[in-house]
């Protein structure tokens, strides 16, 4: 792959990336969340159309216009979320869309299919009944079905995205045995994982990506974890972060012993007024889950929460909002906005009480407030009657922000506040966060962008697999230290 580029409105996802993978090699793709690994792989799989660059397989330029074309070219990809039909059998899944024809068109030659399926599975050295229902299999077995499916189309290039995230140690070992045998058969395996220990066990070479760029390719045997972490973090903190001016006041939020089975383990921390606390961690480390638990969106199994020194029990977002919490969700389209409605309706949704007198809503007053906020946040729009679906990502995010500013929330939780928005809008949102802290609000900011965390936070919490793995003072920690902590690996001496 050479010079691959992909831009979305407002964001450059891939900026001329090169990637060279050899036959019979396990090539690791490494990078922080949002570095562009997944997009690059989607280009390879034909799921995303590239804007520029070329892809050659065995020296031949290939178009990869759609997933079927990619399959024909010998590319197979196993996504983190499996693409299996749970209520069909293993054999049905292996040959979905390419069933061997029976006696009549439209009929399936079940016998041949089951026989071929068991041959495929046997080749992987796994014992799975081809006639078992996929839903009845364990995660590891489903993973093997995915691998078998990928290989049954004669894949020459196999992409695996975080294949071990749901597996036990033993299952991982089995998977690695299969991967090694694939390598021996000359298949090129592209392996994406955040688990550093694993990479050294299974990988031959590694390519590190950052901000949609290729930053280096190394032979794994010749490099250290520290070197890789440095490559991943790399950049100097060039982005402009506003100076911290907020003075910290009394405690605004305290969480003690928060647990949610299998997701959050004994989380305790506190926020002060005027303080920005960054919450770092890898995808799936439980950051969003923590925010949702505090906000009453998910039930908790144990733990207590204090707001302004008063113990509270929060069972629903409605209650959380009444208690003075605000939660800017990570996925603004799915969880933050009612896309088909206009700006005024979205900004006022969380606090219609303010505009209601004797049960009657005053659209005029709601519009005045929405107008004031959108001017203040510099939302670019022809008018408040504009449906938010028609706004750009940055402006949509500002509308969500406006929703939470409309109410005087004491504690604001921002989950990835700058995801998918352009640099200009980012800077504005950074300033806004500082201003809000300056007004005495407490802010918990979840972010996958280390510079953002380092540049804005007074204090930084790091999560790893549902635990709070570390706490640092802002300005006294290096990106490397944070990343080591988030990866769950001890920093180098």
């Amino acid at each position: 792959m050479r010079g691959i580029a992909k831009r979305y409105p407002g964001v450059v996802a891939l900026d001329g990336v090169d990637l060279e993978v050899r036959r019979g090699e396990v090539h690791v793709l490494l990078g922080e969340n949002g570095a562009g690994k997944s997009t690059l792989m989607k280009v390879l799989a034909g799921a995303v159309r590239r804007d520029a660059g070329e892809v050659r397989i065995d020296g031949e330029a290939v178009a990869l216009g759609d997933p079927r074309a990619a399959q024909r070219a010998g590319v197979s990809i196993i996504y983190q979320e499996f693409n299996l039909v749970p209520h069909l059998s293993v054999a049905d899944n292996l040959y979905l869309g390419r069933e061997p024809r029976g006696a009549w068109p439209g009929l399936i030659d079940q016998k041949t299919m089951v026989r071929d399926a068991s041959r495929q599975l046997a080749a992987l050295g796994v014992s799975i009944d081809p006639q078992a229902r996929v839903a009845d299999l364990g995660v590891a077995e489903q993973q093997m079905v995915e691998v078998a499916k990928a290989l049954s189309i004669d894949a020459r290039i196999l992409v695996m995205d975080e294949p071990t995230s749901a597996l036990t140690e033993q299952e991982i070992e089995r998977l690695f045995t299969v991967i090694r045998s694939l390598r021996a058969r000359g298949v090129a395996v592209i392996y994406i994982s955040h688990r550093m220990e694993e990479l050294f066990q299974i990988g031959d070479r590694v390519t590190v990506m950052r901000d949609g760029r290729h930053v280096g390719t190394r032979v794994l045997a010749d490099c250290t974890m520290d070197e890789l972490v440095r490559l991943m973090v790399g950049r100097a903190l060039t982005e402009q972060f506003p100076a911290r001016t907020a003075r910290q006041g009394e405690e605004a939020l305290r969480v003690e012993g928060l647990c949610r089975r299998g997701v959050l383990h004994d989380i305790s921390f506190s926020l002060r007024r005027g303080e920005v606390v960054g919450l770092a961690g890898l995808m799936g480390s439980g950051r969003t889950e923590l925010a949702r638990a505090i906000f009453g969106a998910d039930p908790i199994d144990a733990g207590r929460i204090w707001l302004r020194g008063r113990a509270v029990t929060i069972r629903s977002p409605r209650q959380a909002i009444r208690e003075g919490l605000g939660f800017l969700t990570e996925d603004r389209k799915r969880q933050g906005l009612v896309l088909c409605r206009d700006i005024e309706e979205n900004t006022s949704l969380a606090h219609l009480d303010r505009f209601t007198r004797a049960g009657v809503l005053s659209p005029r007053r709601a519009a005045e407030t929405a107008g004031r906020l959108t001017t203040e946040l510099r939302v670019k729009t022809p008018g408040l009657g504009q449906r938010v679906v028609n706004l750009s990502g940055g402006n949509q995010q500002k509308v969500v922000l406006a929703k939470w500013l409309c109410r005087e929330a004491d504690v604001l939780i921002f989950d990835e506040p700058t995801r998918g928005i352009d640099v200009g809008a980012k800077a504005e949102i950074y300033q806004l966060i500082q201003r809000l802290a300056g007004e005495g609000r407490a802010i918990l900011m979840i972010s996958s962008e280390l510079p953002e965390i380092l540049g804005l936070s007074d204090r930084i919490l790091v999560m790893h697999r549902g635990h709070l793995a570390g706490e640092f003072r802002g300005g006294e920690v290096t990106p490397e230290q944070l990343l080591h902590c988030a990866l769950g690996s001890p920093p180098a001496p």
Partner: protein
């Protein structure tokens, strides 16, 4: 706001009104009987029942749900009303009981959807059968007929030259429009339909709203049963068969998205009028009722097709 800008902002509604006007124009050319006061009042009278039910469905559909039980609920509420009247209850009390029965059926729907997590389609399909069975049970399958003139005034009376049912319909639409536009509940209805998850995370009491929405749907079906019973001077346990489909059609023709989140009460009124005028015009033209069904079905499909084409071109 100037008129052209208003039309652009409400393109879908303007389109529905335009279709309605064109339809009226065509029919008045084709048959001299169409554009007479008595016929127009007749159309209005015939539209009333469907229009009132359709208001409830508009709320349900706006919230992203569906209610298939309204026809059966109408029958059950109707026979309760009739039995209460024959038992000598005062008219307001009997009507109250009828509305309570309708709202209670709707509440059951809402509880099943909001707390039982049943798909609205299934919950209301079940209640459709339960309510119909209930209506047949309490009447032993026989119609209940013959009421006092004071009750029948609801169908036969006129105020300022306009029949009482038409006034009732206009009142229902006025209130429904106001509630949708100017109350928290109304805002919540469209927000839930537009994005339930975002609404929940914005503190909208989603479950309570859903119960309210379905209760309203049942209550309005009961209100329609009052008007129907008064007009027929009889309550039938088999009344209201497939009325839910007419009401859904009126709502959809009126521009409310079956996905929820977008639509208007006013559009539904026009949708119901279009259906009423179409039936009436086809009758006047002597088109057989079989062909009428075909035409009305085609109109529903065309209306939704136009919507998807219109939305597709904006992307």
């Amino acid at each position: 706001m100037t008129l052209p800008r208003f039309l652009v902002a409400n393109a879908r509604q303007a389109g529905t009104v335009a279709v309605f006007l064109v339809l009226c124009l065509v029919l008045s050319v084709l048959t001299p009987h169409f554009l007479t006061t008595s016929n127009l009042l007749n159309v209005a009278q015939q539209t009333v029942i469907n229009a009132v039910i359709a208001v409830g469905l508009t709320y349900v559909i706006l919230s992203g749900g569906i209610d298939l039980s309204v026809g059966s609920v109408l029958a059950l509420a109707g026979v309760v009303l009739a039995l209460a009247l024959q038992a000598g209850w005062p008219v307001p009390l009997a009507i109250g009981a009828c509305l309570v029965v309708g709202a209670a059926c709707g509440t059951v729907n809402g509880l099943l959807v909001a707390f039982g997590r049943l798909p609205p389609f299934i919950a209301t399909l079940g209640l459709m059968s339960v309510a119909r069975g209930g209506a047949l049970l309490v009447t032993d399958g026989r119609p209940v007929s013959g009421f006092d003139a004071s009750f029948r005034w609801l169908a036969t009376g006129e105020v300022l030259g306009i029949p009482v049912p038409v006034w009732c319909m206009l009142a229902v639409y006025g209130v429904a429009h106001f509630v949708l536009k100017r109350t928290k509940f109304g805002r919540y209805v469209v927000a839930i339909g537009g994005n339930e998850e975002a609404s929940l995370l914005s503190g909208v009491p989603v479950a309570a709203c859903k119960v309210g929405i379905y209760a309203l749907g049942g209550g309005l079906a009961a209100a329609a049963s009052v008007l129907l019973t008064a007009r027929l001077n009889s309550a039938q346990p088999i009344a209201g068969l497939s009325y839910e489909l007419d009401a859904i059609a009126a709502t959809v023709i009126g521009g409310t998205s079956l996905m929820g989140g977008q639509g208007s009460v006013f559009g539904t009124l026009v949708g119901a009028l279009i259906m009423g005028v179409l039936r009436n015009g086809l009758n006047l033209l002597g088109v057989s009722s079989y062909v009428q069904q075909v035409v009305i079905g085609a109109v529903i499909i065309a209306a939704v097709l136009l919507d998807t084409v219109f939305k597709g071109s904006k992307r």
